[in-house]
């Protein structure tokens, strides 16, 4: 049965993928391998996982302002997430990176932990209708 929750649209479009969940923020410049989308920072909660084709659910970006280019590199290298959900308010680095990469981006979903409980479950992000469905 499909359940949907409301969210805010930051960058339009829609994408489906398996959820990749983390409560930790990401420095896109230093923590991710833009060739394959794998989180390479061994101290990060989702070290070793790949964002490629996934729906990344995370609080937002930290650190370098160049992280926006790293998101674009992921897209050009076909290693980008299918969509991104910021559990907090989307930050400028993530928003601008998604904007030029056409990666659907939504933020502040209602009750996200109730719906998206575990990594791996299939999630659909429809930014244009401001909905996240599982």
């Amino acid at each position: 049965m499909t359940k949907c929750i409301k969210c805010r649209k930051i960058v339009g479009g829609s994408g489906i993928g398996n959820a990749l969940l983390t409560e930790e923020r990401i420095n896109f410049l230093s923590m991710i391998d833009t060739q394959n989308g794998i989180i390479k920072d061994q101290h990060h909660q989702i070290f070793g996982s790949s964002v490629k084709g996934a729906v990344l659910v995370f609080p937002g970006a930290i650190g370098s302002s160049v992280g926006a280019y790293a998101i674009y590199s992921l897209k050009v290298n076909a290693a980008a997430p299918a969509a991104i959900i910021c559990s907090d308010k989307a930050d400028i680095t993530t928003a601008s990176g998604c904007a030029i990469s056409n990666i659907p981006l939504v933020d502040m979903p209602e009750n996200p932990s109730f719906f998206i409980r575990t990594s791996g479950m299939e999630v659909k992000v429809d930014a244009d209708s401001k909905m996240v469905c599982v």
Binding site: S64, A68, S73
Partner: protein
């Protein structure tokens, strides 16, 4: 994505501004006086960044004063960099020239260019520059990304939101340091802890009432920028409802994470790049001494030229210091694992990126300690 047609780059710029406007709940765009763009070093933006800039520079021009971050090396100085790196780096430089930016290659534009009057809105991407400008200079900027500052440089506008607005420039959380803050490294540690702890845009330090000198303010700003998303600090009594203590345990935790070596084979100074005051201090500390290890000093060309006129660079070089203009420690291609096992630095930001991006161990020491341990009297 871009075909270089006229109007297309402007559309891309507005698409970026629209997205960050949505994210930060801006109701309108406001004019900004100055944009400072990051994403100049090839190591930071990669091949897709090279192509993106080449395309956008075919049809876009900056509308306001625009300065840019350091690149990967100093042109005309012999290095062992690959031809491929140099070619791509120079393509990036060419694109920024075509865009009409001032090719300042600096991460400390606030120590080089005229500062607009307090309360002026600017768009600064480089995180240390954003934090420093909000906190010390009273300029208004969000923690812009490389792309949003580029969009602001082309349109002359930025969303009116967050740190642009007075209500966001007051901290809800204060950090109370419970250790002696003496050196620039002590402030760097405090900033790194603060960035990790705070998710708001502004944080207060309940620290000493003295006015922070530029060197300490730079270390604090750069470290805040490295570990978090916070874009401003204030200094005060810490009367906020929420107060977090940064004590000896927290300091040890930061050092355990970033200080991964006891010693190093190379001293790297500059992240942020050194300003005139720091070069003056360095020249004094090094007077009559000789460095026992190779020491690279990353510096903006404009500062280097001034320092040369003042006789400072001669004094530093006489003691064995080497200058590298137009570049910085962060993601530098000049310091590699092949050549160095570990690097000595006083910069928390340099330590983080040397660890994470260059995969090199770091020995963190403050500047005075570095010169005490690694420079001898002739």
């Amino acid at each position: 994505m871009l075909k270089g047609e006229s109007g297309e780059s402007l559309a891309v710029a507005y698409r970026i501004l629209l997205a960050i406007g949505e994210a930060t709940e801006a109701e309108r765009l406001i004019p900004v006086k100055w944009a400072h763009i990051s994403g100049v070093n090839y190591n930071t933006i990669g091949d897709s960044g090279v192509d993106f800039l080449e395309q956008i520079s075919k049809s876009a021009k900056v509308a306001i004063r625009t300065t840019i971050n350091p690149m990967g090396f100093e042109e005309n100085k012999s290095t062992n960099l690959s031809e491929s790196f140099i070619k791509k780096q120079m393509s990036i430089v060419k694109s920024y020239r075509m865009l009409g930016t001032t090719t300042s290659f600096t991460c400390i534009p606030y120590e080089i260019f005229d500062i607009p009057e307090k309360g002026s809105a600017v768009s600064f991407a480089e995180s240390n520059a954003a934090v420093f400008s909000n906190s010390i200079l009273g300029l208004l900027t969000n923690r812009e990304s490389a792309l949003s500052a580029l969009a602001s440089s082309i349109t002359g506008k930025s969303p009116y939101s967050n740190l642009m607005m007075e209500e966001f420039r007051h901290a809800k959380l204060a950090i109370k340091p419970d250790y002696e803050l003496v050196t620039e490294l002590d402030y760097g540690v405090l900033g790194y802890f603060a960035g990790k702890t705070v998710s708001d845009s502004c944080v207060e330090f309940n620290a000493s009432e003295e006015k922070l000198d530029t060197m300490k303010a730079k270390a604090l700003s750069a470290a805040i920028g490295t570990s978090g998303s916070c874009g401003m600090f204030t200094q005060g009594e810490g009367a906020q409802q929420e107060v977090v203590t940064c004590g000896k345990e927290e300091v040890i935790a930061v050092k355990d994470e970033l200080n991964t070596a006891e010693d190093g084979d190379l001293i790297a100074l500059g992240s942020p790049q050194l300003g005139l005051n720091e070069l003056h201090l360095l020249a004094g500390l090094i007077e009559g001494k000789r460095l026992k290890k190779r020491c690279i000093i990353f510096c903006a060309r404009a500062i280097h030229n001034q320092a040369t006129n003042l006789g400072l660079t001669d004094r530093i070089e006489h003691a064995g210091g080497e200058f590298m203009c137009d570049s910085c420690t962060c993601l530098t291609p000049l310091i590699t694992r092949t050549d160095y096992d570990s690097v000595i630095t006083n910069s928390i930001k340099a330590a983080y990126y040397l660890n994470h991006s260059n995969r090199i161990d770091v020995s963190l020491k403050d500047l005075k300690t570095i010169l005490k341990e690694y420079a001898d009297y002739n």
